[in-house]
């Protein structure tokens, strides 16, 4: 992170730590430059239950750093009053490269995303207006907003942009795979390299680039017979979008179980078994998962083991432990 120094001068600029092996970012930093104070304010807010009706739920409640900011072990999350949501909490990482947010892409601008959990009755169940009031009456937030934005005015734009400044800084690109890829001295085992080759051959048409997702929406053949979450259909109302969900990144999946939009697979073995033997011929099944009459991806037992070995090299321990992203002591 590049920091230029400060002495009563305009805010030091922070830059998004874009790994060289990543494509270019999508988030428009012109409209919301990342600064140290903006980032710190965003971090305070991210971990603060003040965003919820009764002070108990913060973003960090369901987005925990050790799980790459997902909710490990939780099929769906429990929000305020222990109410259950309907979808698995996705990890917060590499969002500067995302175009659309939420499993169904219902939000097109990261700055607008927090409005959804804050106002959702089963998550934080609060009104934005009340959040702003609480912040204005707080003993330290007005000063933090002043340091981040040049005056102690607390409004919707600043609240959302501060959170974005924190979120876009959460970049995961220093896994063992990344260091191997960038020739930084990391060595992968032969199984891991075999796994990498298999992922490139068999998975990278959807989990592409070093983001390990092409950010598209697809129906990956999950059994939908008893399910009522129509995915992207709710956003576009197009029949061809029924049961399509955003392709998640494979990064850090070792720590983000359970898997899929509704957390139905509790481990990676179940995921690969699904792709190899469990794909359903849904109406909108992605063509990549249907070659003639053959559904899914052909994987031997050894293939699966090697793929999983490789996937574990995508765990970025630096990211999971980086104290800059942790809840600061008050």
């Amino acid at each position: 992170m590049l920091l230029t120094c400060c002495d009563g001068e305009p805010e030091p600029e922070m830059r998004i730590d874009a790994p060289v092996n990543f494509p270019s970012i999508t988030y428009n930093t012109q409209k919301n430059p990342v600064t140290t104070k903006g980032f710190e304010l965003g971090r305070s807010l991210f971990y603060d239950g003040i965003l919820s009706r009764d002070g108990t739920i913060s973003c960090g409640s369901c987005h925990q750093q050790g799980a790459a900011f997902s909710h490990r072990g939780h099929i769906v999350s429990h929000g305020i009053d222990d109410k259950l949501g309907t979808r698995n909490a996705p990890p917060i990482m590499n969002l500067a490269w995302q175009k659309y947010f939420l499993w169904d892409g219902g939000v097109h601008d990261l700055d607008l995303q927090p409005v959804a959990p804050i106002q959702n009755p089963v998550e934080m169940d609060e009104k934005l207006e009340r959040v702003l009031d609480k912040l204005r009456n707080h003993e330290s937030y007005p000063d933090k907003f002043d340091q981040a934005f040049g005056s102690n005015e607390i409004n919707t734009e600043r609240l959302l942009k501060a959170l974005s400044q924190f979120m876009v800084t959460l970049v995961s690109g220093n896994s063992r795979y990344d260091k191997y890829k960038r020739g930084e001295g990391e060595v992968l085992t032969s199984d891991e390299i075999e796994g990498l080759n298999l992922v490139q051959q068999k998975c990278a048409s959807c989990h592409s680039t070093d983001l390990f997702t092409d950010l598209s929406f697809r129906d990956n053949g999950l059994d939908e017979t008893t399910k009522t979450d129509y995915g992207r259909y709710a956003i576009t109302l197009k029949e061809t979008d029924r049961f399509k969900f955003k392709v998640p990144s494979l990064r850090n999946v070792e720590v983000t179980a359970p898997y899929m939009h509704d957390g139905r697979f509790r481990n990676l073995d179940m995921v690969l078994d699904h792709y190899a033997e469990g794909v359903h011929n849904n109406a909108n099944l992605d063509p990549l998962l249907k070659q003639g009459d053959v559904l899914g991806i052909s994987l031997t037992k050894d293939d699966k083991a090697r793929i999983i070995a490789f996937i574990k090299t995508l765990t970025d321990r630096q990211f999971l432990r980086d104290t800059r992203f942790s809840e600061a002591s008050k």
């Binding site: 428009n28 409209k31 659309y100 939420l102 892409g105 219902g106 939000v107 097109h108 601008d109 700055d111 607008l112 409005v115 959804a116 804050i118 106002q119 959702n120 009104k127 934005l128 207006e129 959040v131 702003l132 409004n155 919707t156 734009e157 959302l160 942009k161 709710a234 956003i235 576009t236 109302l237």
Partner: protein, 264 residues
């Protein structure tokens, strides 16, 4: 008889030239124009909650909430010149429960005689995908409940109420600006309408502050091109059917009258 004839001609000449509205307009003269939106139900005034009305499906109903965005206002003069109200000052939320919101105050309007207004019911698509810094006032998600946080976009027209035809309440939350990208195209319920004042004109001057009244007949939301039955469709939100309600509400606003009051 001839004298009477001359008399009449003179009278006509004098009458047509002698109107206070023909005061000469100074360059850069500006004034204020108010657009007043009077929400009614057929020939009755709209009274929230207690008023009881009947639609063409013979359903008796009451309205508990009525709110809609009016935006992107343009004015046209009697000689066809158009004035576009600066967009940032051109977003209003008319709320039946908030009396002041029914008067849209347009300030710094160039002095002229206006006889047509064009506006949008809803929020245009550009603003719907704009940076959060452009979401101020009635567009601020903290200031309004006319916003879908899970499918980023505004609710253009919200009407809620009760009816003997159903057990619960009815909810019509109509939005949809067309989608944020070509692979996420949705229906577009943004309606732009132009209303002419007939033979009337709003004479905006530094000393005259006209008020143009419009009637917004919510009965026509039910009795429109599509007959909307509360029993058949008690809840319409982001769905294909909402297109019918939007088509109906595109026709509910009509011109009432204008009074060119001197500035107070």
């Amino acid at each position: 008889m001839k004298n009477l004839y001359i008399y009449l001609v003179l009278l006509i000449i004098v009458a047509s030239s002698c109107s206070s509205n023909d005061s000469e307009i100074k360059p850069n003269e500006k004034g204020t124009l108010t657009l007043h939106f009077d929400n009614v139900v057929g020939d009755k005034d709209l009274t929230l909650t207690s008023g009881v009305y009947t639609n063409s499906s013979s359903e008796s109903f009451s309205v508990t909430t009525l709110k809609y965005f009016i935006s992107n206002i343009k004015l046209k003069t009697t000689d066809n010149k158009e004035f576009v109200v600066p967009q940032d000052s051109s977003y209003f939320l008319v709320d039946e429960s908030v009396e002041e919101s029914q008067d849209l105050l347009l300030k710094d309007i160039p002095a002229a005689d206006y006889n047509e207004v064009t506006f949008t019911i809803g929020v245009d698509s550009a603003r719907s995908v704009s940076d959060v810094s452009k979401r101020k006032g009635v567009l601020d998600p903290a200031e309004t409940d006319m916003y879908w946080s899970w499918n980023s976009g505004y609710i253009f027209f919200k009407m809620e109420g009760t009816s003997t035809a159903i057990d619960d309440s009815f909810y019509y939350h109509i939005g949809g600006y067309g989608g944020y990208s070509s692979d996420a195209k949705t229906f577009n319920n943004i309606k732009t309408i132009s209303i002419h004042f007939g033979g009337d004109k709003a004479t905006v001057r530094s000393t005259i502050e006209p008020e143009a009244h419009f009637y917004v007949d919510v009965l026509k939301v039910f009795n429109g091109e599509t007959t909307l039955s509360i029993k058949d469709h008690p809840m319409v939100m982001f769905s294909d059917y909402s297109v019918n309600i939007a088509t109906n509400y595109a026709s509910i606003i009509e011109y009432g009258h204008v009074h060119n009051d001197p500035k107070k």
